[in-house]
């Protein structure tokens, strides 16, 4: 058994930021366990720019953004095991991991930070009818083939889903000489960042079809085409609107799912909307000493916010290790009227620091107000030019706002049109 103060599961941007913050706070023995060959997580295959605008104030590529944290980790005495898979976390915080060098390892931790990231929703989850040939894959898999392995997965491409990876891959495939015929989005709005729609589709003349989906795949061995169709308000295909599009590749960018299998095994309670753990403002889950941050907690659109969130978790873990974490009284946060979820789900009303509640809306709003209230009292109200499901929003809660609350209070965030 190896003894550590803090075990961080995952060495992507979340895990690294949490570990570094804990180190800065004075935690001595920290280990990062990473399943890939290198630290950096999914950023390593995101060779486009646009990372770090908020956090570093400059525009970096994914590997550059990750590189800055990898450098910092290397300068510390944080232990790192790469190519190492965590198999299990016990409820006494024993983390079992395996690699082909050290074999099976067990780490006894005081605190654990979950930073496993997320995975892409695969085709099977969509129930698209048709054949199952080669040439259908998630946008992220295609991104790895192109950017890491150096192979093109196809030449004539249809993309289903306008999530950010799908948009980025529309541009990437075009730059590599493929013809991206159309990006179909089931919803009446895109799930991606506005800047990605402009820079990745509009600039290249790639059509985005809203309220449109793939209803059938064709081709026995290799994909030969897809049938697309418009959908109604209930998202059901409208008969008569079918259109056949010849293509050899279908990329799916239809949602990301936090990878919480390890969390579930150790009994961490999950939020039904985020599919991530329920956490308090320190990013501690309902299991004492287990923290979560990054895409395993909630799917982010900007890595800058992942870093911010993970530093909170790193600080929370450090406080926990030093026995400094305040007891306090915790109340729930709740999103209604268009606010799909809020992270953190619990807030300490005796907290002495300013905190942010992160949330996403369920549809596009223009000129709507974001209202925060508690026990019938409006705490803040702010008009926003645009709110969209693809962009994470936040509201600030100050210690003053918390002063008049009691254990039965509930902080509500809602949209007012």
């Amino acid at each position: 058994m190896l003894n550590y103060d803090l075990v961080v599961v995952g060495g992507g941007p979340a895990g690294m930021a949490a570990a570094l913050k804990a180190k800065e706070e004075g935690v001595e023995k920290i280990v990062i366990l990473e399943r890939a060959e290198t630290l950096g997580g999914i950023l390593e295959q995101c060779i486009h720019t646009g990372f770090g605008l908020h956090y570093f104030g400059e525009e970096l590529s994914g590997p550059e953004y990750a590189g800055r944290f990898i450098e910092q980790v290397e300068k510390t005495d944080i232990d790192v095991f790469t190519d190492t898979m965590v198999l299990n976390i016990s409820n006494s915080n024993v983390v079992t991991a395996v690699n082909n060098n050290e074999g099976l390892m067990q780490f006894q931790a005081i605190a654990v930070v979950l930073a496993m990231g997320c995975r892409e929703r695969p085709r099977g989850a969509l129930s698209i009818a048709g054949s199952r040939p080669a040439g259908i894959m998630t946008a992220g898999t295609a991104q790895k083939y192109v950017n890491i392995d150096g192979y093109m997965p196809g030449k004539k491409v249809v993309i289903l889903g306008s999530g950010d990876i799908g948009l980025i891959m529309a541009r990437r495939m075009t730059l590599e000489g493929a013809e991206v015929k159309v990006v179909c989005e089931l919803m009446p709005y895109s799930g991606g960042l506005t800047r990605n729609i402009v820079q990745c589709l509009d600039d290249f003349g790639i059509p985005l079809r809203l309220s449109c989906t793939v209803v059938k795949t064709h081709g026995k061995e290799r994909l030969e085409g897809v049938t697309i169709a418009q959908v109604d308000e209930k998202l059901q295909p409208i008969p008569g609107t079918e259109e056949y599009i010849e293509c050899d590749t279908l990329l799916l960018s239809v949602g990301l799912i936090p990878e919480n299998e390890l969390s579930k095994d150790v009994g961490v309670e999950l939020d039904r909307v985020t599919n991530g753990p329920v956490v308090d403002e320190y990013r501690e889950t309902l299991q004492p000493g287990i923290f979560a941050c990054g895409n395993v907690l909630q799917v982010h659109d900007l890595v800058d916010y992942v870093t911010e969130e993970s530093q909170i978790a790193g600080k929370g873990a450090a406080d926990y290790i030093f026995g400094k974490k305040k007891g306090g009284k915790f109340i729930n946060t709740k999103g209604i009227n268009g606010v799909r979820y809020i992270v953190p789900q619990r807030v300490n009303i005796e907290g002495e620091e300013k905190l942010k509640l992160y949330f996403r809306v369920g549809q596009v709003y223009k000129g709507a107000k974001v209202v925060v209230e508690c026990d019938g009292q409006i705490l803040s109200s702010k008009k926003k030019v645009k709110l969209a499901p693809g962009e994470m929003e936040n509201v600030v809660i100050t210690p003053e706002m918390l002063k008049n609350m009691n254990e039965n209070s509930e902080i509500i965030v809602r949209i007012e049109e």
Partner: protein, 477 residues
């Protein structure tokens, strides 16, 4: 190439026949038109070893099913294939359906199926708490089991190859001539001669029989769609839950699989093209609606994939097994629809008998080894077993498929096994890498990399399942 026996088609029946014949001192070739075994109906069916109450008494289906259930235990033990005796229920959803159950009970007893009984609603609810509220009673068949059909097939082929049979892939038979008491087969893998031909070509067995002028094998392609649900749904039903059968088959079932998933299906529609395994929106809708009648908690939110398979439905409604009237050294084993998987070991035994009769007795091999060694299954091991395994071979310390916890060592084993994997789906069927909830999103490219390295070819020559199913094209710019 000259052989004593050519078996056409490496589905579960072809595999087990080849394995039974590999007991003898004869040269056997198992010819498969695809890049792997288990590529037809074998990889896309309900994966049930039926108790045997469904088939009409006196038919081959009835006889071979009941015998198959017995033999399956021995086969699975020797081949180290997991077989789980979970029992089956045929559920009646109205009082009018109860006589159907009584009919099935009677039929089952005639067929020699043990332990059948009919239970009322209350007991049914105890047996299967998630059953739909409209259920009024059920026929209980305790001897029904579940098995993974492609695992059984792969194990059979491996064992046959270990015992000297040859497995020839990408070998489509396009013509058969009969010369000097021998058959000369034109195939996409060159000319093959054999004294005996066993036609186990599934939906294409009619076409193969016609190559020698035998027009008696009439096959109707019956298409069925399925959903496979995440392991989190695998406990929604502990039995295999059927509804009352119809003219088109046993109807839609909901069943756990040996690997712990939940399978739902099949639909049934007759089609022309035996190779058309595209799922249909109508079929998928139908099975979902039917499944939620049996087990209302079934939810497509947890579907990890949908697929379809084509059963070879014989026009005669019974298995066609025996020497052809055109040439008695040509044996048809055709129309093997449900309960084909259940019957497969018994069909193999029957064909072994036919061959013995035709040849006047074959000489047994002295060194026949009936055991196919159990593959390493890291996911089923304890911490201590895992530690020991990795100490012996470090490749077992590298997890490639994170959803199913599959190691690089297991993938290497699958590639280097007798008749090993040559493509991504082959690795998937042998190891379960890519079979989990992310469906190969993460490990797919690693599997391609390992295959390319081990087979000594560039990554862009690796296919999903042979032929033109290449995963990548050219290098990037």
């Amino acid at each position: 190439m000259k052989y004593d026996v050519a078996v056409i088609g490496a589905g579960v029946v072809g595999s087990l026949i080849t394995r039974e014949l590999s007991k003898y001192n004869i040269r056997i070739a198992l010819l498969e038109r695809c890049n792997d075994c288990a590529m037809g109906a074998t990889k896309a069916n309900s994966a049930i070893v039926h108790a045997g109450f469904d088939a009409k008494p006196g038919t081959l289906k009835a006889k071979l099913n009941v015998r198959g259930v017995e033999l399956m235990k021995k086969f699975c033990k020797e081949l180290n294939v997991p077989l789980k005796n979970n029992g089956a229920l045929v559920v009646a959803f109205s009082e009018e359906e109860i006589p159907h159950l009584e009919e099935l009970l009677k039929r089952g007893e005639q067929n020699g199926v043990p332990e059948l009984r009919i239970v009322k609603r209350d007991e049914l609810k105890q047996l299967e708490p998630n059953i739909g509220d409209t259920a009024v009673g059920a026929l209980v068949a305790p001897t029904s089991s579940i098995v993974c059909p492609y695992e059984l097939t792969i194990a059979g082929v491996e064992n046959a190859v270990t015992n000297g049979a040859e497995f020839i892939r990408n070998c489509e038979v396009t013509g058969i001539k009969s010369e000097n008491e021998e058959f000369v087969l034109s195939t996409t893998a060159g000319e093959i001669t054999a004294k005996y031909v066993i036609n186990v070509a599934g939906v294409h067995s009619g076409k193969i029989a016609k190559l020698i002028g035998d027009n008696s094998v009439e096959i109707i392609v019956r298409h069925g769609d399925y959903y496979l649900l995440d392991k989190s749904q695998g406990t929604l039903a502990s039995h295999t839950v059927f509804q009352c059968p119809t003219k088109m088959g046993k109807g839609v079932l909901v069943s756990p699989t040996v690997d712990g998933n939940l399978i739902v299906g099949p639909s049934a529609s007759d089609i022309d093209d035996g190779d058309d395994v595209a799922t249909t929106a109508e079929g998928l809708d139908k099975i979902y609606n039917a499944a939620t009648k049996s087990v209302p908690a079934v939810s497509l939110r947890n579907a990890i994939t949908s697929f379809s398979g084509n059963r070879a439905h014989p026009a005669t409604d019974d298995f066609i097994i025996g020497s052809s009237d055109v040439n008695r050294n040509f044996i048809n084993v055709a129309g093997i629809e449900s309960p084909g998987l259940s019957s497969a070991p018994a069909i193999a035994e029957m064909v072994e008998g036919i061959m013995t009769e035709l040849t006047g007795g074959m000489e047994k091999k002295e060194n026949f080894d009936p055991i196919r060694p159990e593959p390493v299954r890291f996911r089923h091991m304890s911490t201590e077993e895992r530690a020991k395994l990795i100490e012996k071979n470090k490749a077992y310390g590298r997890i490639v498929c994170r959803c199913e916890t599959i190691t690089e060592g297991e993938i290497l084993d699958a590639i280097h096994a007798p008749a090993g994997a040559r493509d991504v789906d082959g690795v998937k069927r042998r190891t379960r890498a890519g079979m989990g909830r992310c469906q190969g999103g993460f490990c797919g490219s690693k599997v391609v990399e390992i295959l390319a390295r081990e087979l000594g070819v560039p990554m862009n020559e690796i296919t999903k399942f042979g032929g033109e199913s290449k995963i990548m094209y050219d290098r990037t710019k």
